[in-house]
Amino acid sequence: MIFFGKKKEKKPHKEIDIKKEIKKAEKEESLWIKCSSCQELLYIKEVERNQHICLKCEYHFPISVENRIKLTFDEGSFNELFGSIGPVDFLKFKDTKSYKARLEETQEQVKRPDAVVCGHGKINGIDVLTAIFDFSFMGGSLGSVVGEKITRTLEAGAEKRLPVIIFCASGGARMQEGIMSLMQMSKVSGAIYRLKSTKMPYISVLTDPTLGGVTASMGMLGDIIIAEPKAMIGFAGPRVIKETIKEELPQGFQRAEYLLEHGMIDMIVSRKELKRQLSTLLKLILS
């Protein structure tokens, strides 16, 4: 806002150097976080208190699997399944680092064998099976372990006649597993068809970001597709598209709101409402 009138008395004050502040903040174990949607600099503690939602634009920051479980399932109802499946560097893949070393490093860091946690839990008393991607494990990439665990979850849903909900967060394929990564798309899609054939619903929840092979399989195959606000969702990544067509991308391109407008998803639901919305949906479908 611009005020015309009495010019304010010029006080000697120090300009705030944002960059310096960020650096300082990083040193102080990063007190600030930048919203990847509206670019606002936010106080981390405040974002955490707000269930990792941007206070300005409602963008939903990625959350940990543990947090997701806490937010979605009735207290103490979650039981992990297929937790003993782990990855193998079967191609002996090596880029600047070997896949084996990369895996060991990530496992050590993330404290998980691979990028998905599957399990059984209750949502307001309703039994469901679920798979939750962990984006912090190699970008939630789809490899043999992720594909196998999700397939088993879907097969269990078909066998036990339980609905399945998958929370997606993935950059796409696990390149270090070559063709096997691609084949997980078909494996999972086949299992989704099997689940659907038993008349059990499959719900996909797309969180930021859901891209590539994950979108082009389990992401877009949900009977009902829910997205979190401002989540980036697409097949090709925005950078690849920009490089291919050599054009600027439209405002809000590949964000959840854009997909809703184009008829690609059913609804955008805030994290704070998600549990209630899921349980209402499941009640409407199952009883």
Partner: protein, 318 residues
């Protein structure tokens, strides 16, 4: 126009000379007999040298060779009575994928395949075989008819990948691919997939859920192109040859990994060196698989297809 890849360039002057002689005389013209014999020997020697031990990167290049036979060439030489069907009934016709019905050895079949172009004009028209969502939706439409009418489906895979563009994303590229993959699991007719050139990622898999997957010897099938992989993992696109080795995208690699059922032999140097030999190699194999699958009923075929893909993946369980 004959096109030579960098590593094939040595052949060019000799083959050009041979073609000149062919154009004005015949190769057995006594006046040229000596020269022709010497050129032929030279060519054979160079062929051995350049095609003898192909690297994965060279195979990747061969898999995209412009002079390779493309889907419509296989259709023309292996099938009769081809009737092409167009459009997805929703938005448009996508020429990057062709589909229709035809006859193969007296048996009626459906065919779906990516179509690249053989010259600049056709390449542009076909968008280099990179489909928009409409291509996959057309594929599903034709496969659905084939399924209801009990016709086996043959799919030809040859694409750099699904097109990354604004319209493609807006109209649901991911949804179209996912739906096509899922739909192929519902089919109760035999499905045979032949990877004839470049099997590029999800755009290839979208029409690749077959009861059998055959692959030409110099075709590649990969989760990402060597260039794309190099750009991401090495942050340097010029490391593509390294990425091609690491990704193991060749027919022999995929056969070892149990992803494909059979490698179809190509003429020495690649399918582009002798189309007819390529067709002759593929034909009996297609025929054998079709006969085998004809003995199975619809539910069996569906279950076998599921089992086939269900097994894919390498992991350990403690």
């Amino acid at each position: 126009m004959r096109y030579y890849l960098d590593f094939e360039k040595k052949l060019e002057p000799y083959e050009r000379r041979l073609n000149e002689i062919k154009k004005f005389y015949t190769l057995d013209d006594p006046r040229y007999n000596k020269e022709v014999q010497s050129i032929k020997r030279k060519i054979a020697k160079i062929e051995k040298e350049i095609y003898g031990e192909l690297t994965n990167w060279q195979r990747s290049q061969l898999s995209r060779h412009v002079n390779r036979p493309h889907t419509l060439d296989y259709v023309e030489h292996l099938f009769t009575d081809f009737i092409e069907l167009k459009g997805d009934r929703k938005f448009k016709d996508d020429p990057a994928i062709v589909a229709g019905f035809a006859s193969f050895e007296e048996k009626n079949i459906a065919v779906v395949g990516h179509q690249k172009g053989k010259d600049i004009r056709e390449m542009a028209y076909r968008n280099f075989g990179m489909s928009h969502p409409e291509g996959y939706r057309k594929a599903v439409r034709v496969m659905d008819m084939a399924n209801r009418w009990g016709k086996p489906i043959i799919t030809f895979v040859d694409t750099p990948g699904a097109f990354p563009g604004i319209g493609a994303e807006e109209r649901g590229q991911a949804e179209a691919i996912a739906t096509s993959i899922e739909f192929m699991f519902t089919l109760t007719v035999p499905v045979i997939t032949v990877v004839i050139g470049e099997g590029g990622s999800g755009g290839a898999l979208a029409i690749g859920v077959g009861n059998a997957i055959l692959m030409l010897e110099n075709a590649t099938y990969s989760v990402i192109s060597p260039e794309g992989c190099a750009a991401i993992l090495w942050r340097d696109g010029s490391k593509a040859p390294l990425a091609a080795e690491a990704l193991k995208p060749t027919a022999h690699d995929l056969y070892k990994l149990n992803v494909i059922d059979e490698v179809i032999k190509e003429p020495f140097g690649g399918a582009h060196r002798n189309w007819q030999e390529t067709f002759n190699n593929l034909k009996p194999v297609l025929s054998r698989y079709l006969k085998d699958f004809a003995k199975k009923n619809g539910d069996e075929l569906k279950a076998l297809r599921y089992e086939k893909f269900r097994k894919m993946g390498v992991f350990e369980e403690k």
